[in-house]
Symmetry: D2
Subunit: 442 residues, 4 copies
């Protein structure tokens, strides 16, 4: 990750807050403590003594994030505020929880009553797609959290930010909440840029969505726990299949284009995995320390094995053609799972070893389920923080979580790099200790 | 919570580490980063600029916890090390996960092969109870994580620490892992004191267990997510009952003697609760702002209501007799749940309002289930950290988690106070925003 | 059970069917086969050769139930038909599934568009309770099956059948669907009697609801599988508690006033029960073959035990006072669960044996959950059969299932006795084989 | 299905039963009733009056199955009996439940202590595969029911029945339990034939296994409920995906080579399916009444649709090459799921309609899970019936269930045809009523 300076952490504001918040009474006398951070304080970026010491400043100059949370004074007048919400990119457990909590917080706490849901991602702003707008009332969202997916629909890909802002203007939107991932946050940054160029006062606030947990500065992304729990179930089934046939090998393909968190956590949660492959760790198939001979030995010794592979692992193994990109601009990866099955088959064949490979790709079964209770709580808290940020006039901002404190993160920073598994960390070490696999193959 | 000084964070060590760890090779070149903390570094206690600035020292003098994790050199010689494990107090999801991960880490990573499970809590050390000892091998623990409870059994209450240490001596135990709560950690502190008085070299390492999440410096206790998820299910059922009868009121009693975290998180996860009562917030039943008139109005308006009450809430309401204590020395609370039902009944009766109260106490259904995938991962990581700490000769220590870093916490500090819901925090505020209930009743 | 004659099986009809059913086209050429029964055929009551032979008639005179299912011609004109639905008595998984399937079948297949939901059981017909009526449209019921309980609400107890029929008259209801148990079906019989006395043409069709599976002629009641699955979970938790403490005994109290099916199936599903007590089998606590000495020996031998007790078991053990009845006229039973715990405690105390009893009463957790997939399917099929019966003018009838065929059962017959566990059957024998307990205690 | 005569139902016996069963005492006075069938009675084959009347015999001559259940006298001497168990073919929820219940019943009820598990299907009997034998004791099977799969392993395909019987001879096996499907039962029939030719006294008893529910005379196959419940979950996810994108179409591929029961029940359980395609109903894609124009209209009207397709549906659509067969001799079907997706894509493309197809094949996720509570109970009861049959010397027999009575079915009859969805039945009609789709496409 890049070096972070105090200036990287500064959040943009539309202007001074001059309106008393309806929440002001309950905030009286609030100050920083172990469980809350006062609005005038900062959440330190550094959390080890060596990091702090390296700054070469006094403690009162250490860089920090602006804390999220309700402000005593706000920027927008609730009675006159019009809000838009959009969900972008792939599905993720908890989207409906976030939408619901945004709407309920805006209406019941702030008295904002005009909230519009734009359909099918950024398409929803563009007239030629012909998508209608949904009036988001407390009644409409009452029990949407019980279903997976998003009632707003979603789509991948960017739209012209000028057209988006035209739409916001036509509808007199003051606050736009974007629930989306890396690409969508970049889109939101473009929208905020156009708004600034037009000198308009529209707040753009992102709630970061990534089932892969690859966005930085958010501790852990909403829906991630639900997702890896489902993935753990797939690993369990792979183990059942592997142990129910002579020389059974279960190969489980899970999400994770750039970061192997789902594979890692699912394998830790479920002691049935023997080998875990993630994008962050180089992978060689052949050679003395390659995956295939290791797997072969393991199957010979134990009669079965389970391999968990994140979709982004071993991309360099796949043939030379240039990658395509999907509608969101994500690099489209070749499928490592089937490729791996093929190579395993060939390897065992060449050695005349019986083999029963079962390939499991739980895919949509992971992302289409409702959020589990923990993720539900987390979604509510993220949404509340987003509403507070927007009402206080913060813009071009992502609601993050740093060291278990909700904070405001400039979009620029949130898209500066990806959160990835550090092969040097205790987390990965715990995985190695659990599976017994070598630090890397090759 | 008390003021924390640097000296409060110092962990006791049995002696210098002179043996190369089998893990040393994978630790080469490791240093503090966003994802791991080097063994020579500290995890800062303060995480806001105001807290750090108030210290009045340079950043290199800020107080911090010793990081958990593997050391390049260790204190105990694995080939000669004998380990004891004991589980104490009430059940909690994840106990078997912790036992299993301790055993697998000790055997497969460090080569420690003599591990003994003591039966039924501290009773297991005392000859007159006649409990045998369990040899804990990888085979024995292979799939215990799929079951709730603890294969070692448990019991409440202390035993004479001298007798415990006599037992450790007789069995030549070098490391004792205590998986237990506040009372059990105090017991472990006494045992460590006797060991020190006898000038013996036995490490005492605690893995903190509290289904109520009321132990400080551990971010969140293992099993807590599983527990509140089950509690959320009880709230859902209470809502079903309340809405299926005229003027239905569901009262759900959940664990939480001193801390209302289960009630709070379960209610947030499940939008069905209308009123949440926790020990940290004063409760009055009658009077203009009392609970009963509020509940009465709500039932009249909506036809139903769900009340979630932590067992420790409203204790001052219960009649005057002095409290008894249970075998662990925990103050035994009167049951607020049935008392509340009675008072609600009386109140509605006196006002001639039809009422259908349904009382739900999920009790054992919450604590007897296996850990969910997240808690399973957390248990493994706690156990790994505990093994590393013990092998490096740390003693009288609790494995904690601070700002998402695993750390070593002196037992003394871990039992110095309880982790409680701060009614001033965003967390409680989110609950108030979700239920719409007033900040307090009375 | 009583002797059944052919005349007992005759279903009452409001009059000849003269209207072509909208379903007629798909029924063309339909005749009895292994998978369907033609409307002119009968489902044989007897299913063993000895039963059939004892009739002393030819095969073409064997008694049988009228098959359920769509008729080629119907009695009511869909365009003019008005329908009422009411749910009565305690909750049961699947109530909303039945309501939903009734509404969707009536509207989409028959074109009946005026369907009214009466609130809170038979109270809903009586003006003085002031309950409104719910318009049941496809939109209203679209996803109610995802929730437990009943959107109509329920209540126990009878109401004056004359007042009920007055209400049906005022609202010009042609068909009344009653979803309820033994008491509610008796109430429906009274309503049908009043209708007949008034010479009105209102069909009264019951969908039998009993979480205890104690209504005869329905193979298995809807919600029963869901219910015993939840009960099995409680037994699992009891086992965890029992094995996690010295001499632990888990006592699980499950529903079953008159029939022990939930206890039996839950214990079979979950091999953790050591003793199962049901109303159908006599119970003595003391004496050579009594429960208490048996349990004592078992705990001494194994260190733990799990006892599952149906609420109606051992009622004669409870003290002499006359029983009260609840609002539905059900005999109110004393609670056997706590009584048993007390007696177990006393027995072990008197023998100086340590004991840790944990009492689990999952109660509402069993009945408030949504139907599982099997029960969902079963509810839909019951509801479809009920709609076909009503449209064809059948009245005073219960939708039953006999030997896996849906049939029409006269209410009179359905309330003539209870379905109970036969201690002579293979089913109970399988339980004895599984737990190893004696055929009876005492 | 074929015409069934009384002679088709006669079960073969190894010889007269001359040994008192240990179960005899509990069977005293037992006779046929609604809940059990005496061993001297028969379970009638016919269950409608028209079927019985067409026989042209007296009721005492109506054809019937021999009832399953314990006999007062048995053929094998338990102390000298040696038993083999083998699991064949694809996985199915409940295999371990059956194995466990066989072992526990044999040991604890009959006192049979030498039970051998053969590994990996019929391969386990053949020396050249080198699979060892597992001693099946109560300890080994104690908690295997908590895991999916089979601890014995499985494989597809037949082996030379002479070699199998050689193995049985070498090991002095008296009873062989085969848990397997259509192909495996044919194999068992061959084995029984060789045994008969050699004039040996070895009982061959099958417990029918078919996740597709396509074996006749068993009411419903074990594991089927678990399987369709999982499939229903996949449909739910498909619905989430379909509704979360513009013109979303979810295609769910479920098991069902010859019978569409899983597709049908899963779709009924889960109201999210719009179109269900099964092998029993002809399918045309194009033309006025074809699937594609119907789907196109539906997506245009509603914006989304979910299609559930059993793997055996529409086989005639797939290109002309001759089918291969897999190792079990099952005809290997081309994959209809991906083919359908392709055709849907082409159809929408050609009409310039936006489309977002999501293809879900839950495959192993359905068959690798543990049995649900209902299936667990059913497995136990099947296993108990199988043990009773074998101990009483029945051979070449399948444990079946007919009209909810456990019965003995000659293997010959069980493999004579497949159980399929009758498009004329109320069951399929209920599906049509639920989805609103036409009786067939084309």
């Amino acid at each position: 990750m890049p070096t972070i300076e105090a200036s990287d952490l500064v959040v943009r504001t539309l202007g001074p807050c001059r309106i008393d918040s309806p929440l002001a009474p309950v905030l009286d006398g609030r100050r920083s403590s172990l469980h809350c951070v006062d609005e005038d304080d900062l959440v330190l970026f550094d959390d080890t003594r060596s990091m702090a010491a390296a700054r070469g400043t006094g403690p009162d100059q250490l860089p920090g994030f602006e804390p999220a949370g309700p402000r005593r004074r706000i920027y927008f007048d609730p009675a006159k505020t019009r809000v838009g919400i959009v969900t972008c990119g792939g599905l993720c457990p908890g989207l409906n929880d976030v939408i619901r909590a945004l709407v309920l917080e805006l209406t019941s706490r702030y008295g904002v009553n005009r909230i519009f849901g734009f359909r099918n991602g950024y398409q929803g702003f563009i007239p030629r797609y012909g998508h209608g707008v949904i009036d988001l009332t407390p009644e409409v969202v009452a029990s949407i959290n019980e279903d997976g997916g998003t009632i707003l629909g979603s789509s991948r890909g960017q739209q012209d930010p000028n057209e988006v802002v035209d739409c916001l203007d036509r509808m007199s939107i003051n606050i736009l909440f974007v629930i989306g991932g890396d690409g969508s946050m970049r889109g939101a940054m473009e929208i905020a840029r156009v708004i600034a160029e037009r000198d308009e006062k529209i707040a753009v606030v992102c709630i970061p969505k990534t089932i892969d947990n690859d966005i930085p500065f958010i501790d852990r992304s909403f829906g991630f726990q639900t997702a890896f729990s489902e993935a753990a179930e797939a690993i369990r089934v792979a183990h059942v299949e592997a142990t129910s046939a002579p020389n059974g090998v279960g190969v489980v393909n899970v999400m994770g284009r750039h970061s192997g968190f789902i594979a890692l956590y699912a394998a830790l949660a479920n002691s049935d995995a023997d080998i875990v492959l993630i994008p962050e760790v180089p992978l060689k198939l052949e050679g003395e320390h390659g995956l295939l001979p290791y797997l072969h030995r393991r199957v010979i010794d134990r009669g079965h094995a389970v391999v968990v592979v994140a979709e982004g692992a071993g991309q360099d193994l796949l043939a030379g053609e240039p990658y395509a990109t999907d509608a969101s601009g994500n690099v489209k990866l070749r499928d490592i799972g089937p490729y791996l099955c093929q190579r395993i088959n060939d390897w065992f064949d060449a050695r005349n070893t019986e083999l029963n490979v079962k390939y499991i790709d739980p895919s949509y079964m992971i992302r289409g389920v409702p959020a589990n209770p923990y993720d539900s709580v987390y979604c509510i808290r993220l949404a509340h923080a987003a509403v507070h940020a927007a009402m206080a006039g913060r813009t071009e901002v992502v609601v993050g979580r740093w060291h278990r404190r909700f904070v405001h993160v400039p979009i620029q920073l949130a898209v500066s790099h990806r959160n990835q598994v550090d092969p040097n960390s205790d987390l990965w070490l715990s995985l190695l200790e659990t599976t017994g696999q070598p630090a890397s193959f090759g």
